[in-house]
Symmetry: C2
Subunit: 193 residues, 2 copies
């Protein structure tokens, strides 16, 4: 059965981080569900893209995913961080050892800001890590610590997405093939030569 990922969307989400990740996961056979983390399915991104999400978060109280993807976006992560339903959804999956995958400001704002990092190593954009005591910030493009995989920001979103897809599927050959197929020369499963 194919793996399933939930992509959390709140108003102001970073559209390219969200849809690069959805795109690469989809190309590698992972089923991605877009989840609206507010009162309606329609969600407007950081730069004004209007998206209609597949489902409302409130409809997923007993649904499980293999991974939770949390995109950045200045307002997007403020909105996600302020939602008790989002924190509960992430915490439930984290405690069941599902993959938690924040990028850009998400690890700091949504996870550290709600004490959900629990001391794990992570990366995030800018100097947001200085505002939080939870977790151990590492200045790298992509950081893995157990079931947590974090990406630094938009410009490394492909690397983050490929690494996440590899973690979910274990299929290094398929991931390498796709990276080459789309002319992305910055990532390979075994690192670059």
């Amino acid at each position: 059965m194919s793996k399933r990922a939930a992509l959390l969307l709140a108003p102001g989400f970073e559209e390219a981080e969200a849809f690069i990740t959805l795109d690469i996961l989809s190309r590698l056979g992972i089923q991605v569900t877009t989840v609206a983390c507010h009162a309606q399915n329609q969600v407007i991104s950081y730069h004004g893209v209007v998206t209609v999400a597949d489902v409302l978060l409130e409809a997923l109280s007993t649904t499980w995913f293999d991974a939770i993807v949390i995109p950045g976006g200045p307002e997007g992560t403020v909105n996600l961080a302020a939602s008790l339903a989002v924190s509960a959804f992430i915490q439930r999956h984290d405690e069941a050892n599902k993959i938690i995958a924040p990028i850009c400001s998400a690890a700091a704002r949504v996870l550290a800001g709600n004490q959900l990092l629990k001391g794990r190593r992570y990366t995030c954009s800018g100097e947001l890590w200085m505002q939080h005591s939870d977790g151990e910030y590492v200045m790298k493009d992509v950081v893995e610590d157990g079931n947590l995989i974090s990406g630094r920001g938009l410009g490394v979103a492909f690397d983050f997405a490929f690494q996440l897809a590899l973690k979910l599927t274990g299929k290094a050959g398929a991931a390498d093939f796709q990276a080459e197929h789309i002319y992305y020369d910055r990532w390979r499963s075994q690192g670059l030569k």
Copy 2:
């Protein structure tokens, strides 16, 4: 006045190519309008993202943009190529020397397939160029020839978007700042050291 770009969306459009370009252009102060190139504003992408475009193409018969962005996607470019309205919209802007910016399969399918390249140098994905006699294919990530700027595919979409933004604004410093700000280390206005 800020520059304006139209992003052409037809069913099956490559979501990450479209929204990376929208994102980078927006970050550099260019106003991007999403244009639905079929009968309704709602357009579904290659991997199932549901988007509500700002406007229908048919409403733009007398509107001008500084650039026309044409994303890829296997079905997306087949749909765009089959539309006489899309070809007329592109041709009108091309004849007025506005920037025409296809990525991935778009240059071959939408432009060469409708004799709109007029012998210019371009790049595109895969071997699609072999099916067309119009234009001169160049195997590079991003190719500029006059008002035509083309990108090879998804994995070089950031490079394509930054180069297009630079061409539209002429602001090399701002483009370099953004590339560094988002941790994209593959593109700088003067090339990489």
